[in-house]
Amino acid sequence: MKTLTRRDFLKASGMGVALLGSSGVSSFAAEAKRRVVVIGGGWGGATTAKYIRLSDSSIEVTLLEPNKEFISCPFSNLVLSGVESLKNLTMNYDGLRKHGVRIRHEAASAIEPDKKRVRVGKDSLEYDRLVLSPGIDFQWDQVEGLAQAKDTVLHAWKAGPQTVQLAKQLQSMKDGDVVVMTVPPVAYRCPPGPYERASLIAWYLQTKKPKSKLIVLDANKDIVSKTGLFKAVFKDYSNLDYRPSQKVEKIDVGAKEVTTETGDKVKYDVINLIPPQRAAAIAVEADLVGGDKRWCEVDHVTYESVKQKNIHVVGDSTIGLPVPKSGNVANAMGKICATAVVHLLNGKEPPVIAPGNTCYSWVNDKEAIAVVNSYKIENGKVVQIEQKLTPGKSVGTAQNSLAWRSSIWNDVLG
């Protein structure tokens, strides 16, 4: 039997090292701790933070999120119709902590791309890669009189206290009162959301306030998403007055009246004004938005900003991909961006992965409709493979939406 020499061992160990290098993206090298800062703990940011840690626990991840709890925007329209409670949509961040994500319940005050650091009050956090999932801000100045009245004219477009307040206004209004809700011009968070809300408010009024009606003033020419399905649903509600191409330009809270672009004046007893939107201020201030001054353009594979190196953007504040601003898309972007960030920090080429979109809208107390989109990457860009709609509303689709939410909430936070 041949005796093993020291030379043989070195050859064998060299092979081992080579294999180790190709066995995964995790690096065992004794290099400096790599740091990622994630701004925003919503669907996109929480997913990104979790999946970076899940994929490479040697990377330090700090998540900046001012809110102590996560409240799901999906399903919050059901709170308005009294079918769901906000408590059931509220979760904590303990799952992310278990993955080793450092969470600071503070807001980022500024980004300094040149110094690769984020200011948090007087403190600052250095990063190798920064991921922004800052969500949306409202453009109050686009509607005359709104900036002064923004604390009393509810949007309820970020699930939370305003959702509960709007539900209370609907519950306490007199039977016979008029509700007016407005739909902002595209692009805005959750394209089918306003129409789901209109359906559910109409259902609530039909059930509890049969003499009341809902007027929907849509800034867009037609229903933006699931158009045919919502048109069929709206026929169920004789109390729903849908008016397209009626962008609201002015609100007078004293007269309880809004004025549209065509000069129509519409009186209300309860108003839900969803203002025009853009990427959150932190992204605008860091010069991540494009020529439209509203949204952030990103690489379709890595989600790195086309304007600032080492800064990635996911979720509703992005533009340019043929995908809706939905929670499911933000979750998919988070996973893909996390994969890209881990590869880049390990000196590897990021894999090419496309997102997906599964989107449910409830239309009464037990039925829902859905749209599903699959995508692929072609020449570095996201392109749609197929879009499919449910044939109509059904209890089965509503049940599927409940299964979806338990899965995806766990994927984001668990």
């Binding site: 995964g24 999946y51 599964t358 089965g396 299964a403 995806i408 994927d411």
Partner: protein, 203 residues
């Protein structure tokens, strides 16, 4: 001494080579895992769906996974959710994604089941066991799915659409037999069968 060191090193190397195929490995470590990232929104991490109407695909036999994907893409199994995603799977790499889910450790559905429904299902289950196995373990060789431990909501929907002739099977004789078997069953019977097979665990 060098012999011992070599053995240790070879063992470490083998473990590292296996790592990307291990359920405990990170989700980024294989191409199949990366392509399957989009699936976890509904099917849960590594295919262990916590949702009541969404099937668990962790540990699914690759040939059955591929058959299911093709059936969804061709509309034999109508599903607005799965039709677009099945086309995604076919276009980006069905083999890698099937192999990824096949090696994931399956965790049975956690939802609490109605014990009366489970009893009702147990009394009716013999007919299903002829093909799906006495423990619902399926038969990968014959492309018969394991139904043990699947969420009851998912199994009930499948039983219902089979009964209503909304899901096509490859073998017309099997399809007829299934329809004949399910025809006299009430909704409560189908719920019972679903609860019973959901309650079974791999042995």
């Amino acid at each position: 001494m060098w012999n011992c060191l070599l053995v240790v090193f070879v063992l470490i190397t083998v473990v590292l080579m296996c790592a990307p195929f291990n359920a405990a490995a990170g989700p980024l470590d294989s191409s199949g895992a990366q392509k399957a990232l989009v699936c976890s929104a509904c099917h849960g991490f590594a295919g262990n769906s916590p949702g009541n109407t969404i099937p668990i695909i962790a540990g699914m036999a690759p040939n059955y996974f591929k058959k299911a994907i093709k059936d969804y893409a061709e509309g034999k199994r109508p599903s607005p959710e799965m039709e677009p995603y099945s086309k995604y799977v076919l276009q980006v790499g069905i083999d890698e994604i099937a192999d990824y889910f096949a090696v994931q450790l399956r965790q049975p559905a956690k939802a609490r089941l109605d014990s009366n429904a489970v009893k009702r299902g147990a009394a009716l289950a013999a007919q299903c066991a002829a093909c799906h196995g006495s423990n619902g373990e399926g038969d990968a060789f014959r492309t018969i799915p394991a139904i043990q431990g699947q969420p009851a909501g998912y199994l009930q929907v499948q039983l219902t659409i089979l009964k209503e002739n909304k899901r096509k099977l490859d073998d017309a004789a099997v399809e007829d037999a299934k329809k004949t078997m399910l025809k006299p069953m009430s909704d409560a019977d189908l719920a019972g069968l679903a609860a019973y097979f959901s309650s079974l665990q791999s042995q």
